[in-house]
């Protein structure tokens, strides 16, 4: 059996992993098809129908404090949350991998510099560092994305550096080096290939945390700014009305929870399937 088929078989054996994959696919489809699925424009204000309950005619999930259709805003919010969450993860993984490769391959003072910088970043409580970066850059969607990406760079840097240090001592890398393969090519082919499995698991497990952190920033008014549809900022503005319209607060949070749960279950499943030591 090929290694890939083996991983697929292991993955499919886990019910929760398949459920997680399903959740992620459904939310992804909702985000992609939002313009087709949404019954209304997410930004159209209708002051005559403010805070209507779910299952009202024309508004399956009711409306928010401006009379905007909640289902449409949730669907378009999936776009914001997933795109920004994935983008932040990609930026963090790319920056972290470069740092890890440099530290692992060049060694000496570069390694010292990178590792001490990582120690410093990790000396900050996770969410506090994102908030501190926003304090510097100013609130906003792109800044929020950058902030949570920077916070997660150490996570990837350490994974890649550890893999580099382990792989560069192996006989086949030694053999390739003896054949005159350049250090750059070595790092790009052999080492990165070995980093792939841990990185795939790390990225999947990380996306959920990214989505939560970004929603948290938006909830505090430091991330995505109104009137953009976004789960975190929807939750934030709904708080004033939760006595009269609890569903307006409940639904965006439920969406965040399902997205994060999906990625966490998927990541757990991938880790169990890709890490042979756990079998």
């Amino acid at each position: 059996m090929s290694p890939v088929a083996d991983v697929v078989r292991m993955f499919r054996k886990s019910g929760s992993a398949v459920f997680g994959l399903g959740l992620v696919l459904v939310l992804g489809a909702a985000a992609v098809l939002a313009p087709l699925l949404a019954p209304h424009d997410p930004d159209t204000i209708d002051t005559a129908r403010r805070l209507t309950r779910p299952l009202t005619a024309g508004h399956p999930l009711g409306t928010d404090e401006f009379g905007r259709d909640l289902l449409s805003r949730l669907l378009f919010g999936a776009r914001t949350s997933l795109v920004v969450g994935l983008a932040a993860t990609a930026v963090a993984a790319a920056l972290g991998s470069v740092c890890g490769l440099l530290a692992g391959f060049v060694g000496r003072w570069v390694d010292q510099l990178v590792m001490r910088s990582i120690d410093t970043l990790m000396a900050f409580p996770y969410f506090l560092l994102a908030v501190a970066i926003i304090a510097t850059l100013g609130p906003g969607l792109v800044n929020g994305m950058l902030a949570v990406a920077i916070v997660n760079v150490p996570f990837y840097g350490r994974i890649v550096r550890a893999t580099v240090l382990a792989v560069r001592e192996t006989d086949y890398v030694e053999a390739a080096r003896a054949l005159g393969v350049s250090e750059l090519r070595l790092s790009l082919t052999h080492v990165l290939r070995n980093c792939l499995a841990p990185l795939v698991v790390a990225v999947t497990l990380n996306v959920g945390g990214m989505i939560t952190a970004l929603a948290g920033l938006s909830f505090l008014g430091l991330g995505v700014q109104p009137p953009t549809s976004d789960w975190g900022s929807m939750l934030s503005s709904s708080r004033q009305y939760m006595n009269v319209a609890p569903h307006v607060a409940a639904l965006p949070g439920l969406a965040i929870f399902l997205a994060v749960l999906g990625f966490n279950l998927l990541g757990d499943g991938l880790r169990d399937a890709l890490d042979p030591r756990l079998r």
Partner: protein
């Protein structure tokens, strides 16, 4: 570093404290950068649009912004070490007393959450591991994966909806009743915020406790302990938990970081008078000294917590002292 401070526990403590110093310097550099790296002139931003050029120039001088950056850092660091964190312009007061007062509330909240996280997490993890694949194990791990996926601010809002607004069992905001309080009143106000903040961490601790206990349960010395007829309870308590303690301690240290960060969100949801909710307002008001003071205090606390966790390792596992 091996020679510094000699060998044994004492030497290890000295070496570990020395290693924390560069991290603290890095933290101070980053916190210093919060204001200096901001785009635009911090003095002009802090004073707002109505400020005259003379006001801006005066503030620039007061903050030392007219001097070279390394000199600014040395000046700022000197002030910090003397306990001077600057003045908050919107509040018109020195930052340090303001920040310390708020920090007390944050410590109360995070301690409550940590107790919940460790108590619940350890219990659930041990039960799960000792009854692997039983319905109890499956249930508690399903609850745990749900718990780690819950956004803390949403948990808080849902708890307020159910237990404060509908059932009226707990207050929805604040840290004490308007007229007097006492310890019971504090606990009554603390319950929902601490549960909110502690849930995700409890779930993370449970997952890690389960996997480290499972790893140790398979070791030969555990089999030997069972073979010599030791009761299962004694095997778990004396042989398994003692050895699972260090990985669990690691995750608790990491969780303190999550709790201190998550406190920012929890405090905002529950109008808890802590540092986090104050910093969010300070960021919106561009009150840089207040933000710097808050970030510096929390980050330093976290560095000290990690130091203590590392020292506890050496107490529980003598091998570490000689590395």
């Amino acid at each position: 570093m091996a020679a510094v401070g000699g060998h044994g526990l004492q030497g290890y403590v000295v070496r570990r404290i020395l290693l924390a110093l560069p991290v603290l310097v890095g933290v101070s550099l980053l916190v210093f950068g919060v204001m200096r790296l901001a785009p635009g002139d911090p003095a002009a931003i802090m004073l707002g649009a109505q400020a005259t050029p003379e006001d801006v120039a005066r503030l620039r001088r007061d903050l030392g912004l007219d001097r070279p950056v390394p000199a600014q850092y040395v000046q700022w660091m000197g002030q910090v070490l003397r306990g001077d964190l600057g003045r908050s312009i919107p509040l018109g007061r020195p930052v340090l007393p303001e920040v310390l007062l708020r920090f007390k509330a944050t410590v109360v909240l995070t301690t409550g959450a940590l107790l919940i996280a460790v108590g619940l997490g350890l219990a659930a993890g041990i039960v799960s591991a000792t009854r692997q694949y039983s319905w109890l194990d499956k249930l508690s791990m399903a609850v745990a994966v749900t718990g780690v996926s819950l956004p803390v601010f949403w948990t808080g809002i849902m708890l307020i909806l159910v237990f404060a607004l509908s059932l009226r069992w707990f207050p929805s905001a604040g840290m004490s009743s308007p007229y007097g309080g006492g310890f019971a009143d504090l606990l009554w106000h603390l319950a929902l915020p601490a549960i909110t903040l502690g849930t995700a961490s409890a779930a993370a601790v449970a997952r890690l406790t389960r996997s480290s206990v499972l790893e140790i349960i398979r070791q030969d010395y555990v089999r030997a302990a069972r073979a010599k007829g030791l009761a299962e309870r004694a095997v778990i308590a004396r042989h398994v938990l003692k050895n699972a303690l260090n990985p669990i301690l690691t995750v608790v240290g990491v969780q303190v970081g999550y709790l201190l960060g998550g406190a920012i969100l929890t405090e905002t949801v529950f109008s808890w008078p802590g540092l986090g909710s104050m910093m969010v307002r300070a960021i919106q008001a561009r009150d840089y000294p207040l933000v710097q003071g808050g970030v510096l205090l929390i980050a330093t606390t976290f560095v000290v917590v990690n130091l203590v966790v590392d020292l506890l390792y050496a107490v529980f596992d003598p091998r570490i002292r000689y590395e």
